[in-house]
């Protein structure tokens, strides 16, 4: 609307354009105010804490704050030979302060993570330092224990100077930084986490494949049957969906145990002998079977909602144009279901990759996943920063898949029930 043409005015004499913009802005604010409470709630109680996890996973301030003077004086030390007297002096004063605050035990634990052997020499230093004389701290500290005269230990202390570290992430993929600052693999026999990551991916992948293979025919059947039958069969899909996860896991524990019904059945049909019953629980088989059944509804529902929209006349058209039913299915029907396949597979994969309860109960030692490791470090070793690092590594993987999902189907196209 150019200014030369006569402007349209509202009854108040304000140009219509201005008035409309104002109304638009008001509506925007109104809409935003409705969303604001939940958005603030989620940001404060959920998004920030995930950020807090990130901070924890790289945080290494503890030692930095315990030995402020030491690290300051170490800045000039090149790390080649033993540090000069001033470093020893600074360390002595930092250490005295820690003894006053009764925190020297924490220091020894922390330094022991970096290099084994600190625990005993710090205890010894604590005892001996009471009778230290003023001046020449280097000699006095070195005489406490020969390890205090070993430059390796001073280098280990210096490595704890930065307030941030990525060690926990390295540990998560079984790597570490050695004394020279090189990043190397943990010896083969001590690698734990890589196996777990691979197993998590493997189980999530195969559970997704199994779910797809099982869900496709029944989703097709549900979508093509007349309503009165399909509604009844739909209950078979929805009942497990609404039933407690623990109940379903419990039922698998009953079925798969050695004296369980599945084994009874195998013995009855002569597949295995009675004294040679299969072990299907507390191993990978247990995880596979239980997870597939539990996640199956998440594959059926998106597939069904896509298949429901495909007109049956398309298949008839394909057949009438000379295609065999298989060709018609493969060339016409299948391509139309791809959005549903994408949605279902990504949904199941995302859920499977973060599964915790079922693998912990039926997986045993060989069927546990990365989530179990995270829970273990949260509850048993209390290494929360490591748990956070592993959690974030898992989360970044999930976010990539989430982003893919959004690209393929759109996040607001998720359908429930």
């Amino acid at each position: 609307m150019s200014s030369e043409t006569k402007q349209i005015l509202t009854t108040d004499g304000i140009p219509l354009e201005v008035s409309l913009k104002k109304a638009e802005k008001k509506n925007k604010i109104k809409a935003f105010l409705l969303v604001a409470p939940l958005l603030m709630f989620i940001i404060i109680t959920y998004v920030f804490p995930i950020g807090d996890m990130l901070m924890r996973s790289v945080d290494d301030k503890m030692v930095t704050e315990m030995l402020p003077k030491t690290f300051k004086s170490m800045e000039k030390w090149d790390g080649q030979d033993l540090p000069p007297e001033e470093v020893f002096e600074a360390f002595y004063f930092d250490f005295q302060k820690l003894i006053e605050e009764e925190r020297e035990g924490k220091l020894s634990t922390q330094l022991n993570y970096t290099k084994n052997g600190f625990k005993s020499i710090i205890k010894k230093l604590r005892r001996k330092s009471k009778s230290f004389e003023e001046g020449n701290y280097k000699e006095q500290i070195m005489s406490v224990h020969r390890r205090w005269a070993d430059v390796e230990y001073w280098r280990a202390i210096k490595r704890r100077a930065p307030a941030y570290t990525y060690q926990k992430y390295l540990k998560g993929i079984d790597m570490y930084e050695n004394e020279k600052g090189e990043i190397i693999n943990v010896p083969e026999d001590r690698r734990v986490h890589r196996i777990l990551w691979m197993r998590t991916l493997e189980i999530a992948f195969f559970v997704t494949v199994f779910c797809f293979l099982m869900a496709y025919p029944i989703a097709h059947l549900l979508a093509t049957l007349p309503m009165k039958y399909s509604n009844l069969l739909m209950i078979c899909v929805l009942l497990p969906f609404w039933t407690s996860l623990l109940v379903r896991t419990a039922s698998w524990m009953i079925l798969l145990q050695q004296q369980g019904i599945v084994n009874d059945f195998f013995v009855m049909i002569g597949l295995v002998s009675d004294d040679n019953r299969l072990e299907m629980m507390f191993n990978k088989t247990g995880s596979y079977v239980a997870m597939t059944q539990i996640l199956l509804p998440f594959m059926v529902l998106p597939l069904y909602s896509v298949m429901k929209t495909i007109s049956p006349s398309l298949m008839r058209a394909g057949k009438s144009l000379g295609g065999t039913p298989f060709v018609a299915f493969w060339k016409v029907y299948f391509p139309l279901t791809i959005p549903g396949i994408g949605a279902g597979c990504l949904l199941v994969f995302i859920l499977a990759i973060g599964y915790y309860i079922t693998p912990a109960l039926v997986g045993g030692a060989s069927g546990t996943l990365i989530s179990n490791q995270i829970a273990f470090h949260m509850k048993s070793t209390l290494d929360w920063s490591f748990a956070s690092a592993m959690g974030l590594m898992l989360l970044s993987g999930v976010l990539v898949i989430y982003w893919l999902y959004n690209k393929l189907v759109g996040i607001d196209n998720i359908k429930l029930g």
Binding site: I50, A250, I374
Partner: protein
């Protein structure tokens, strides 16, 4: 799905193979749930069908595990059930209120940054529970709400709102906004319009979102495992502990009750969904 008469034999065979596969998958889905029923009435302590049960001998069945569930000594189930219901009810109320109000804003065509905000609001549903559990635990520990009912309720509101947001936005997508304008032009204020016009129309969506939130809270164990103290034990926590330590038939009695509860919820949810589709004029 009757086949036409002219179907060739090998397609006919394929068709029956297909139906058999479908039947097997449905069996795989549902059968495990039905193992629990008979075993929960087992008179013996073992979780296998006794010979008496196989012969349908009445003496082999009993209600002792149900009695144990209700009257058993040092029984955790009463407290757990009470906690579970209290937590789930408050979490549902919180999720429904916050989620519905947010969905109203999100469905407005004036809403800025819709996609981004939606992604943030739905994130608790997509992020693996174990990570949510760790993050929420850190938050609750910091503000001193760990091992309290309030903390668990708040955690479950976080996990429950995405479901409410999704179901209510879906209901609102078929909502005719001219009715609210009509109400406004007749002199109704926005709150009155919402209570008298909008809410009754979107109620099926709100309730089914609420059911999702309820089930999420009632069945949630990962986050509670991090948050709960001894006083806050819930049914899923008790089941988890029971399943880890020793599979006792009492757990199966509880599981049977839970299956009955979930059947009731399923029926309600289905009826609501159909009503909602009828109201929105979607004919399938």
């Amino acid at each position: 799905m009757a086949l036409p008469k002219y179907t060739e034999p090998h397609y006919r065979i394929w068709h029956y193979v297909y139906l058999t596969i479908c039947a097997a998958v449905f069996f795989f889905l549902v059968a495990p749930l039905f193992v629990i029923f008979p075993l929960s009435f087992n008179a013996e302590e073992f979780l296998v069908f006794s010979d008496g049960m196989k012969r349908l001998d009445p003496d082999a069945f009993s209600l002792r595990w149900y009695q144990d569930m209700i009257y058993g000594t040092k029984n955790p189930w009463g407290l757990a059930a009470k906690n579970s219901f209290i937590i789930a009810i408050f979490a549902t109320i919180g999720s429904v209120i916050l989620g519905t109000v947010a969905a109203l804003g999100l469905s407005s065509r004036h809403m800025p940054y819709k996609g981004l905000i939606m992604a943030v609001l739905i994130s608790p549903m997509i992020v693996p529970l174990i990570i949510s559990g760790v993050a929420i635990f850190f938050f609750m520990a910091k503000v001193g709400l760990a091992a309290t009912h309030t903390g668990i309720v708040l955690a479950h509101i976080i996990l429950g709102t995405p479901f409410v947001v999704i179901t209510v936005t879906a209901t609102l997508s078929g909502f005719d906004h001219s009715v609210t304008r009509a109400a406004a032009s007749l002199g109704s204020d926005p709150v009155n319009t919402f209570m008298k016009i909008t809410l009754p129309l979107i109620l099926p969506g709100v309730i089914s979102g609420g059911l999702f939130a309820f089930v999420t809270s009632f069945d949630e164990v990962v986050v509670v495992l991090f948050l709960a103290g001894l006083e806050n034990t819930t049914i899923p926590i008790q089941m988890w502990t029971g399943l880890r330590e020793q599979l006792s038939p009492t757990i199966l009695a509880v599981a049977t009750c839970l299956i009955i509860l979930s059947t009731l919820i399923l029926v309600t949810a289905e009826l609501l969904r159909r009503r909602s589709e009828r109201l929105r004029g979607i004919n399938r």
